[in-house]
Symmetry: C2
């Protein structure tokens, strides 16, 4: 099977680039002896990718109950379900744990902590710490941190933070600074809990940029990151990976030719690509994606998807588009703005390794 045999739009995953990105992260983590990498599978949602990113069923991070179940059944026992838990979801997590998994939940709420402590099933929790992103979590210096730990009692497994605001950085120095804030904050939270008599086994932080750029991981037991595996047009601009190291693209067909406005229409639109506009405020705005040739090369120049409808994407050339290479039905590939959201529209990966041959088809676990 080659790319020609696929129904467009669909996902293409380049195994060589994936392996390169995984190796780069492994090397970054290996700078810190004793530090564990707990890859976040929210981007890949695939056991086959997890076999490479978290080999030997190593520790992983998940973002949905569906992922927790899918990976637990695949053998990945040690998980952190890194979205604030609700009491109603505890039964499902406890059932996975009773069947042999060790899915740890996170909370930043005293009421939830009491529900976790009171649950009859096997459960452990990390306290979510906010070190400046301003999403979930309690601050390292808060009274709530200690109150939640007290409520969890022996079910406290550790502390966790996520420097999502690293995405606002634009230079390696920015990333280094955010990474140190992330480290210092979560370690401070751990120290306060230990001073109060709690055992804090896990001190977890991470985002792809801070995992790659952090200089010290003193006091940290593990880092989490996910998007680094595949990369995208936004992460490339953050310096997470090189511009050509985007492992996931959307294979699409030309369905319209509009030379009068130097544009082509693709059958990859808002559903196949997502409406994510991460690069809107990046140095280079790639609209809804960048059109590559069927080999994944940038041979059309900066050919950007400027408009999307549900099943249509319109590409505008920055110079005259080579229409002779773009007849109706021509295959192209689109590099995504934000690979987590683009991949989520698709139920499988068509795996290539540089060439046009599809060497494997890997499933994904979407939904909740």
């Amino acid at each position: 099977m080659t790319l020609d045999d696929l129904t467009t739009p669909c996902l293409v995953l380049d195994l060589g680039i994936l392996k390169r990105n995984l190796a780069a992260m492994a090397a970054a983590v290996a700078r810190h002896p004793g530090l564990t990498l707990r890859p976040h599978l929210k981007t890949a949602k695939s056991r086959e990718v997890a076999r490479l990113a978290a080999p030997d069923c190593g520790p992983i991070t998940v973002s949905t109950l569906a992922e927790a179940r899918y990976f637990a059944e695949g053998g990945w026992r040690d998980q952190i379900y890194a979205v604030g838990i609700t009491p109603r979801k505890l039964d499902a997590v406890a059932a996975l744990n009773a069947a042999g998994a060790e899915v740890k939940v996170i909370t930043d709420d005293p009421e939830s902590a009491r529900a976790i402590a009171a649950h009859p099933g096997p459960l452990r929790a990390l306290i979510e710490v906010d070190i400046g992103e301003g999403r979930g979590g309690v601050t390292p210096e808060s009274d709530a941190l200690l109150a939640i730990a007290a409520a969890l009692g022996p079910r406290l497994a550790g502390v966790l933070t996520h420097a999502g605001h690293s995405y606002l950085g634009r230079s390696a120095e920015d990333m280094v600074a955010v990474a140190e804030t992330e480290r210092a904050g979560v370690v401070r939270a751990a120290e306060r809990l230990r001073a109060a008599g709690h055992r804090v086994e896990i001190v977890s932080l991470g985002s792809s940029p801070t995992a790659l750029h952090g200089r010290s991981m003193a006091g940290v037991t593990e880092v989490r990151a996910g998007v680094y595996m595949f990369g995208d047009l936004f992460q490339a601009q953050l310096g997470t990976h090189a511009a050509q190291d985007i492992a996931v693209t959307v294979l699409a067909s030309v369905i319209g030719r509009k030379p009068e406005r130097n544009a082509v229409l693709l059958d990859a639109g808002a559903l196949a690509l997502s409406k994510d506009r991460s690069t809107e405020k990046a140095p280079k705005d790639y609209g809804f994606g960048l059109m590559l040739d069927r080999e994944g090369r940038r041979s059309f120049g900066e050919a950007i998807l400027t408009r999307t409808h549900q099943e249509h994407g319109e590409v505008q050339g920055d110079g005259p588009l080579p229409f002779e290479r773009l007849p109706i039905g021509a295959l192209v590939r689109v590099a995504p703005n934000h690979t987590c959201l683009t991949a989520a529209a698709h139920d499988r990966y068509h795996v290539v390794e540089g060439g046009q041959e599809v060497i494997a088809v890997w499933d994904r676990v979407n939904g909740w």
Copy 2:
């Protein structure tokens, strides 16, 4: 089963509202004797919805091969696959037609028309006409219109247009004007083809706003529309339906409480809602959605999802949020910005009829 038994996030479809929206469109179309409604199933992607929207397996519109197959197997034979076809996709369409369906394709390209004419299987095509949206299609006065018809020969089934730019209108008068442009343009294309000796059986136009607002449908054989079935925060502002007539909402749980910034976090984020920002340029910008209470009422005021992450949505109140009603785990519902994209993240509908009881679960056909 009630809403309490569901895993959040998930889709809730209110049957009463759906029926009301269907009745409104049926009444609008019934103003024009002889006019056929060919509902677009790209929004609903559900046979159960199609049973109500296109009863007795009446004519439908689809946007993917997956929909064409799913509905053909469900008994809906008469379809238009309303996204520009590529030669590579003709085999799949012809196979459906050989098995009893009548899936008509669309094209605006002479090369594709020749491929359609030359295909050994049963195929018919409509010519896509651009009446001002500037997406796909040839203009009514173009030479290409006649060239494509000549290439199609007896496989020409008609002409089709879509006034997508009706979405730029902001008043009923705007919609009336766009609807008349749409009608006049597609009828002109049909007249030119007939004058050249072609049989033009189908003269098809539509978008939800123009289908509802068009005053004359003279010369038109059918109208297509889809989003009217469910509605959303954008269509409500276009006047497609009343503000309270949004049939599809996302059931979500509170996963974070942030009184210090008058916000709550929900477990419905960028994946469960989509990153669509349709209302960004509408009179009222609803961010990524509007938080309703579990009964679907606006009892939280204008509580808008201002930020989304993959699995997190942050709601800001326009006045002080009633945190006593929003503990961790509380169920709320989110009205979507753009229901086509929000629904596409989910594989089923949980059907209610006003209350909390789930009276049915209906599947969807996602993907391609």
